[in-house]
Point group: C2
Chain length 572, copies 2
């Protein structure tokens, strides 16, 4: 491909709305064009990158016996009513009415379609297990589209669905898929992807893992123990604290006017947060019932764990007078609010707690839960934190890092097959619901995440396995017929030998040409110029700066091809 | 791939709603699953077929300097408002409102997106020409979805858009694309695809061609002259008749009660249709103004030509008393209806016409237009017919045949670039609108059309270039360890040598296995059985019945691979 024929501008200025590097570089490099919130058109270089990622995904899915299929993007609402998700999913799902007044939805995931495809076919246990997958457009009306291709509304996704006759078989396949995912991310050149335990969210099911590309700009927080290898999304990570055993003291009332929050109390009274109990008030989404969570003063509530613990969604509570809750002074002892009370286990073992007095302008010192509240059930609803105790090895080694979710795998169980009445006849003649797993990878997000991980100030540094082209030839003096002829020949020879070449023969300044080359991020650069030509060489350099040198003009095509093959080997 | 692991049923009974062979066979063969009107999920064999077609398309588009890109399926209505098509397209376009109350549409074609992508980039004449294309899902809310994948609402389409600085350059590129299309259809194995001149419809522009796969079940009628090669969609084909010069006679009123239609007149009075003028009444869609078309009694009005002649859409007219039109007795002489009158040129040269008297229960004999009506402008709005005169060579050799449109190419001109204000600076410093072409191919429809063209009663006969697999091995006695081992080895050897193999090792009757194999439609079948094994051979046969024979077991893998390569050569 000739740069001068390639559609798309490259430019210097970072667009105003770009707050992360991959977004800025992919805009500046002519990879994509903004269409509307969370939606981009992809220029050829980006399409080439995603096509290579898709090829890697296909190969790995086929290796674990995946059958590629294709589901419709537009589905009848009736299908989603079968699973119950037509009502349980909110405004993220785009809906419309067709010309026959039939309610339709745009697919944001395809569990329903997978069951629909398989349920009339896989009727006997001998038909199992199997896995079907597709690579297809999805639309999810995200409220917070941001970061270029990292979080969009329309995206290309590989989604796979496996069907099994036993939990054991699902678990074995899940393990295979886990390994396939590791292969995919490695082959695509992502360096820092780890799998973490995660929450199943709207998918349902129990066990699930997210594959996270570690980066400071990630949206997810991960609890990681480098000592033992424990990894979990903070959403589900256990929060374990070790409390100092302080002395049991006598209750003491403290006058605390205008000190409604912990910060003020700490500043004005020198309260030790690790020996205090704070209260956070929620309301259940469905009933508006109040939920008061008591937890150690220095910790935060993990709303995902709280939701799972309560079995329903919650939102921040608005305290009314009728509730009997004394806002700002909620305490453990003599709490009389009309609310469900949740005790986080971070309070366990603290003998004397500083807490609200359930009375305006007063707090209490030295509250002891056993003595002053009675026997309570402790649950785990606090957020894991940096320096917390690893639930796996017990050391205080938890680090919280940020990551971008580039893939996920779920053990769904029978949620969909039950709801949609998919059954098979087992070897014993009984009728059963198959057990499902599902497995997703966002193609564009993976491309952008790798750019986020591997770039410098000047542009992306694409791994050769997904780079839009493998070599870029820069011809510095295309007005010089001899130089142009040498560069043309190198382009032809390389192309003929199967190397993917981007060729810049524009009559522009070397600086401008190299700036564009940095934005293209092609792994190998070959510079043909008068200076090099007179020395009988072509100058080679790698975009990741790991190599710079010269090869003889006569053997340049062969040398470059050999290098490409060698570089590619690392991604097989 | 093992047949027993492949998801999808094959069955004998033709589903009730299947009226054409490709639809029936692709349902019976486990290629697709009905989801809702005009929408199917594709099982693995169908996905493999479409993937191969897509690969052929990509290669041919890349050969003519196409740059693959990707546009969003969901677009903001504002983009379609720019071109004017948000209002000009009716309920075929699916529309919804997103969570931010922004009006969105589902892409049914992507001219607007192509201009949006290119307009900020291609600002100088030196950036031209270029062509961008995508292979992407489209949704068109068809009122008449039918025939399986032939006419669906959701489909995968290759759509390409070229941009030029001169009409000449567009025409040259259009010619290249025409050749690329011929290559695509040939390589995909379609045998009877012809290009015909067509109407541009909602796309705008002037010159356009449709690529039609000839088949009796086609939705389009084509006027073809086998003598000189003239081909056009009947929608645009000139209708030329040669009228006998009859004598000019005296006008004579005929009492024709209850004879409102030509059929009755012919039967009761023996009227010669070729010497009669019938009237067809329409109304303009926008104004309801009446339009009366007079044409030769044996011909039909071509509404596409009429629309183009009038410059607006029409519908069948509902005649009211106020209109002054005497329904059933409309005639050329003394027509006093409030209507625009259109004279089709088929009436030219008939000296004495039988026609209505514009008076209830009367017709006139021997009307002469020049004498009784005056000078009129003749236009061409009649439908071309079998036996009509070829507009190209002048012989009465027109045959009307039916075809399925599998591709189309349009010279769009500046319709979109003007409306959407896309300009570039020309070599003379002037600001101009680029000239566009657009080029589409429906991937699934092409697959189904090829099945329609190449099948027998038992299943599809896939051309090897798009067949889901190249070889099917049928192991007839898989319970016999020796036979199973021989078949397994053939499967492994062929797979290892890069041949795509479907392997049926199920323990079922030979008849059932062969019935399934017919439905799979794989070009080469290899039968491993006790009988063949004892003779030291594998039995080979081609699905299209062009070959049947035996190869030695020892060299079977190599022999089959050689045959595959030889078969593939025809599609390069």
């Amino acid at each position: 491909m000739l740069v001068r024929k390639l559609l798309g501008n490259r430019f210097k200025e970072t667009p105003k709305d770009c707050v992360i590097a991959s977004h800025a570089l992919m805009m500046k490099g002519g990879y994509m064009k903004f269409m509307c919130t969370g939606s981009y058109s992809l220029f050829n270089p980006a399409k080439r990158i995603t096509a290579k990622i898709e090829k890697i995904i296909r190969e790995e899915m086929d290796k674990i016996d995946g059958q590629e299929v294709l589901f419709p993007v537009v589905m009848p609402a009736s299908l989603w009513e079968e699973s119950g998700r037509y009502t349980s999913i909110g405004s993220e799902m785009a809906r419309f009415t067709d010309r026959n007044n039939t309610k339709m939805v745009l697919g944001m995931t395809h569990e329903e379609a997978a069951v629909h495809m398989a349920r009339d076919t896989a009727k006997s246990y001998t038909d199992y297990p199997f896995m079907i997958y597709q690579i297809q457009t999805k639309f999810r009306d995200e409220p917070r589209a941001r970061g270029g291709l990292i979080r969009v509304r329309e995206f290309t996704m590989k989604d796979a669905y496996s069907f099994h006759t036993s939990q054991k078989d699902l678990e074995e396949y899940y393990e295979k898929c886990y390994v396939a995912y590791e292969n995919i991310f490695r082959r695509a050149g992502a360096k820092n992807v780890i799998a973490v335990k995660s929450d199943s969210g709207m998918m349902g099911g129990n066990v699930s893992h997210e594959f996270m590309l570690l980066t400071d700009i990630g949206e997810d927080s991960l609890a990681i123990c480098d000592d033992c290898g424990y990894r979990a999304n903070v959403e589900v990570a256990d929060c374990i604290v070790k409390n100092d055993e302080n002395a049991i003291g006598e209750i003491e009332e403290v006058y605390t006017p205008h000190m409604k929050d912990m910060d003020t109390l700490v500043k004005k009274l020198g309260v030790d947060l690790k020996a205090s109990a704070k209260a956070v008030v929620y309301q259940m989404n469905l009933t508006d019932e109040y939920v008061v969570v008591f937890l150690r003063g220095d910790l935060e509530v993990n709303e995902t764990k709280l939701r799972n613990c309560l079995g329903g969604e919650v939102h921040a509570g608005t305290i009314t007078e009728e509730s009997g809750i004394v806002a700002g002074f909620i305490g453990l002892k003599d709490f009389k609010g009309k609310a469900k009370v949740v005790y986080d286990r971070s309070l366990k073992g603290i003998n004397s707690l500083f807490t609200g007095a359930n009375k305006k302008d007063y707090h209490l010192k030295n509250v002891n839960i056993a003595r002053d509240v009675g026997e309570v059930e402790y649950v785990d609803v606090a957020k894991a934190f940096d320096g917390g105790i690893c639930p796996c090895c017990g050391k205080p080694t938890i680090k919280v890092r940020r990551g971008i979710e580039v893939g996920n795998i779920f053990q769904l169980g029978t949620k969909y097959t039950k709801a949609m009445d998919m059954t098979y006849v087992d070897s014993d003649g009984g009728r059963k619901n198959p057990i499902m797993g599902c497995y997703g990878i966002g193609v564009g997000r993976l491309a952008a995440s790798i750019c986020e991980e591997q770039h410098d100030d000047y542009g992306p540094i694409w791994p050769i396995s997904i780079a839009p082209w493998q070599v870029e030839i820069c011809c510095l003096q295309s007005e010089d017929a001899e130089i142009k002829a040498a560069a043309d020949k190198l382009y032809e020879d390389l192309t003929a030998s199967g190397v993917e070449v981007l060729y810049d023969d524009r009559d522009i300044r070397a600086g401008a040409m190299f700036a564009d080359a940095d934005l293209f991020g092609i792994p190998v650069r070959a510079v043909v110029s008068r200076k090099n030509f007179d020395k009988g060489v072509v100058e080679l350099s790698y975009r990741d700066k790991s190599y710079k040198g010269e090869v003889e003009i006569a053997s340049a095509a062969k040398d470059i091809k050999d290098r490409i093959e060698q570089l590619l080997e690392a991604y097989n």
